[in-house]
Symmetry: C2
Subunit: 341 residues, 2 copies
């Protein structure tokens, strides 16, 4: 299986992206196609003594979409941008998944225009794994859309449920609707209209309303919400986790001599804590609902995050998550909800 990786995307491209790919082909059975400036990529490969091969190849792309560019305009204009070319490789059957670090907007647009949506899905959305007491809570939509309608949350519930089942290995994932109280009548109009639709679904297990605290508590496996809310939570949570982590380190530093001795001993523990809190460790966030496997990575992704994203991209293909979503959408007949939303 070949996975196309946009080698030019993100803050540390191409060095860290290429390095992540080198590690990935060593550890996993997936082949990687690095898409981007051929010369630059080749230079990084040489730097790490890695050779081009059937398992680790390059497809040249002459353009790059920068972080600040307008996603739709940039994707339309730059036909030879690395993210556009990578997506095209999947559309044309030369690769089976895309790993896209860098501008989320450009990645979503490239996927929507290049791969199209699964029949019956109106709004593909981003599923982000968030660390929780029980391991991971999947939050979606975490930013592909900013004005979600009830139908879109229904789609998100179905897609998130399949992601949790086939990628996280949770047998019967519980899906919660993010709200400001547990009672059925709580919340804004979006929640009140979405709740009865989720109750009717046959292919997922709907838990009911959950609150903000239920995300770190791991009350359910999948939390669905409007893309605006999801994006705010995600950015708040990442930043809060790193803020607290730094406070802990600072507290240890400031606590005197004996404490410093102790601190040396607990640094390994702290390091593993940091790893657990690092949202990027989990291998990126899949864009679900497009015709193909597509992983979006943080702009700040380094080699390890890229390697993990390649693994998850491969698993998405192997487990045929797209196919399972397609079947569920057909079985539920989600299209019927169109008029209600």
């Amino acid at each position: 299986m070949k996975i196309a990786v946009d080698a030019m995307g993100g803050d540390y491209a191409p060095e860290e992206i290429v390095l992540g790919a080198i590690h990935a082909v060593r550890e996993y059975k997936y082949d990687v196609v690095l898409v981007g400036d051929e010369q630059k990529i080749r230079r990084v490969l040489q730097q790490y003594d890695a050779k081009e091969s059937e398992r680790l190849s390059i497809v040249h792309a002459s353009e790059v979409i920068e972080m600040g560019e307008h996603p739709v305009q940039a994707v339309r204009k730059k036909k030879d941008a690395s993210i556009v070319v990578a997506t095209r490789l999947v559309r044309d059957g030369q690769c089976e998944a895309v790993v896209a670090p860098g501008s989320t907007g450009a990645a979503v647009t490239a996927a929507l225009l290049g791969l199209g949506r699964i029949a019956g899905i109106e709004r593909p959305c981003i599923a982000t794994p968030i660390p929780s007491k029980k391991g991971i809570t999947v939050l979606l939509d975490s930013g592909a859309n900013s004005n979600s309608k009830p139908k879109h949350l229904v789609e998100a519930a179905i897609m998130g449920s399949h992601y949790a089942k086939y990628i996280l290995g949770i047998d019967k994932p519980q899906v919660g609707l993010l709200n400001i109280g547990e009672e059925v009548t709580k919340g804004n109009e979006l929640c009140q209209r979405t709740y009865p639709l989720l109750e009717k679904l046959k292919t997922i297990s709907f838990y009911g309303n959950v609150e903000g605290r239920d995300i770190p508590n791991g009350t359910v496996d999948v939390v669905v919400c409007d893309g605006f809310v999801g994006n705010v939570i995600l950015k708040f949570g990442e930043s809060m986790a790193m803020f607290i982590y730094r406070l802990v380190k600072q507290a240890i530093k400031n606590s005197g001599f004996i404490a410093k001795l102790g601190a040396l001993a607990i640094y390994p523990a702290l390091k593993s804590l940091k790893k657990r809190l690092d949202f990027t460790e989990y291998g990126g966030a899949p864009l679900l609902g497009v015709n193909g496997s597509f992983i979006i990575c943080h702009g700040s992704s380094k080699a390890k995050a890229i390697k993990n994203a390649i693994r998850v991209a491969g698993e998405l293909v192997q487990q045929d998550v797209t196919g399972h979503i397609r079947n569920s959408i057909e079985e539920e007949g989600v299209q019927e909800y169109d008029s209600e939303s």
Copy 2:
């Protein structure tokens, strides 16, 4: 100055509430009126060897609104509920502020019905102080409303700015609009319609859009958002902070013998960290925009949180935050925005 405290509200009433009041009258110059079941309150006072006095008195209320009750129905029906009586004491001029632990819904309803809104304010809202790199970021609305309109965010910006200035002592508080990107054109309809209104304000300093990460980063002093979003963030943040704190403790515990010795030494540092992360330490969340000073406390508030809330309630009165809000609203002529929102 007399502050009415609902002694029957919250998970630890009346013990912790009464104990908080005892500490408050000892530490601060404010007098406290404990409102609730006279016998029960008196028993707790005796238990702690505290005497009823001019500075710490009791006003009997025979009813209590429980956490699960429907706020509006309960406040209307139970005329002698402790929160209703406490609010009435302020309305009738016998006290100058209310401290309300327990059901947020019941407290907001009691304040709206009992005190009424400041002229020109359509939606009073809850301002919550959130720990940040720079100290505190004020988030509002953090849950009084769940379908905010542009006008309501304008009101929130003005109210939050005065709270930051007069209670947190920030000279020219910067106010940000919570969004999913920094660009003016970003976000949902609410944000896009609110941005130009905030730009026009004369009495506050509008920074522009901020993202979820800017709350812990302390990029601005005040962050305004829809009450649904604010409530979700608040509950998510509290729970995330405690989750991480427990992970740190666990990591130290699990890290072997030498680390344990070190851990003993760093426990004081951890304790002060926990304090910094404890949202309740800051003395509750004011309900701004009603005719009077009104502090809402977490249902899980213990004595210390109550004591702090009494102090903040006193400061709200002394600094005349309500008066400053009233003046700003008049100066801005916020009513004019009615037609736009």
